[in-house]
């Protein structure tokens, strides 16, 4: 937690030191797991980023993002040695991945910097906390689940990258992102889990609201 807090403070100080045209950019979207094929995890992204325009082709971004899970249910087996009960029972298993990230990003214009529509490269690095919450609904007194999963948590650094399409409007910019994010670094889970931390493809849309008056000579 100390490591997490220090990283955030360092990122804030770094970005604030770079006074420039700035925006606040609310973001909403979806996050699809590229691994964990058996689960097909899906999350809803809600977040915001501050954008500090350093030049007409380069922005520094400070992004906070929360990814809420859409619960995945499946059925597993539990067994008993009690002769008065059925040998096995079906158990409903619910898995919910939560992800919270805070990252420093770079937006580099690739094409169309002088026009109303342009394409940019995005690169983020930061810290992420991911929780894979597992719960089972069953008769815990009499049955025992075979090869159970258990809730996994990890906080560590991560990296992500992708592309962004931006459309300039009279007061701000509308954008759509396609971003691939790594799971929290730190290797595989040291437990026989049927899932791993998520490598995700995010599809987000957002709107850049200028916080300072847009310079007419500079592309917004």
């Amino acid at each position: 937690m100390k490591y997490f807090s220090l990283t955030i403070i360092a990122l804030v100080l770094l970005v604030c030191a770079c006074a420039a045209q700035s925006y606040i950019e609310p973001i909403i979207g979806s996050r699809f797991a590229l691994n964990n094929k058996a689960y097909k995890f899906l999350q809803v992204n809600i977040g915001a980023q501050y954008s500090f325009r350093k030049s007409k082709n380069y922005d520094i971004l400070l992004q906070g993002l929360i990814s809420w899970p859409i619960a995945k249910s499946s059925t597993v087996k539990a067994y008993t040695s009690n002769p008065s009960l059925p040998v096995d029972a079906s158990v409903e298993k619910t898995t919910k991945p939560y992800t919270f990230s805070f990252a420093l990003g770079h937006r580099v214009t690739l094409f169309g910097g002088e026009q109303n529509n342009y394409l940019a490269l995005l690169i983020y690095t930061g810290v992420v906390y991911e929780q894979m919450l597992v719960s089972y609904a069953y008769d815990k007194q009499n049955y025992i689940i075979l090869n159970p999963d258990k809730t996994q948590n990890r906080a560590n650094i991560f990296a992500s990258g992708g592309f962004e399409y931006l459309h300039k409007l009279p007061k701000g910019r509308l954008f759509a992102q396609l971003v691939i994010a790594s799971p929290p670094f730190g290797g595989s889970i040291k437990y026989p889990s049927t899932f791993g931390f998520i490598t995700a493809l995010s599809v987000n849309v957002g709107y850049a609201i200028p916080l300072t008056k847009i310079k007419t000579t500079q592309n917004n």
Binding site: T80, S81, P83, V87, I144, I145, N147, P148, T151, P192
Partner: protein
């Protein structure tokens, strides 16, 4: 001279430790503190509550090189008899958690037909109850010593399979759940998961 002898002993001890491999995996069960998860992935462990206290088998340690061998946590004894049935005893060696001495044992003895492999493989998927006449448990555990008394209970074999690879060379696995009751105590929420080879099988 003393230095050389001492140094040699240290090196020898180091080599013995360095050449050992733990073949047991313990994954804590979130629902049952102190017990391993119920698995069928050959984690080589049995855990249970003995009068409510977590009990587990010792780690399976394989030693290689000079003086090599394996400390098994489960042994399956087949005793040939002159009667219509032989008997098979499944024995787990271990102790309460945080005690690595293997000085207590839980055993199950059941009647078996003369064809050992066929009878053993027929256990797979079978749940059996024992009233001490056709099978029984024994236990020598610190909190209650029932080695001389027969206990009743049940066992549910999720897996029970042995293949004969060559003469006296076997490969197999066994996993399941069990519970046992004695006059002075009980064993509850037992779960076991082992790989088997000729070292576990003591056939007389």
């Amino acid at each position: 001279m003393k230095f050389i002898v001492g140094f040699t002993c240290i090196i020898f001890t180091f080599l013995l430790i360095a050449c050992s491999k733990n073949q047991t995996n313990f994954y804590q069960d979130a629902e049952d503190p102190g017990l391993a998860i119920f698995s069928n992935t050959q984690n080589n462990i049995m855990t249970c509550y003995a009068n409510g206290k977590a009990w587990r088998t010792g780690n399976r340690i394989a030693y290689s090189g000079f003086g090599g061998g394996t400390n098994y946590e489960i042994y399956i004894y087949k005793n040939t008899t002159t009667s219509f049935y032989d008997t098979v005893q499944i024995s787990w060696d271990g102790n309460f958690e945080n005690n690595s001495n293997r000085d207590s044992r839980i055993s199950l003895t059941i009647p078996f037909s003369k064809n050992f492999l066929q009878s053993f493989n027929a256990l797979e998927g079978k749940r059996m109850a024992f009233d001490t006449t056709q099978g029984f448990y024994t236990a020598s555990i610190g909190v209650f010593n029932e080695q001389s008394n027969k206990g009743w209970g049940s066992i549910n074999f999720l897996n029970a399979h042995i293949d004969s690879i060559r003469p006296k060379d076997f490969r197999g696995k066994i996993s399941g759940l069990f519970e046992a009751h004695f006059a002075t105590g009980e064993i509850s929420r037992g779960r076991f998961d082992h790989s088997l080879n000729e070292g576990n099988l003591l056939i007389y």
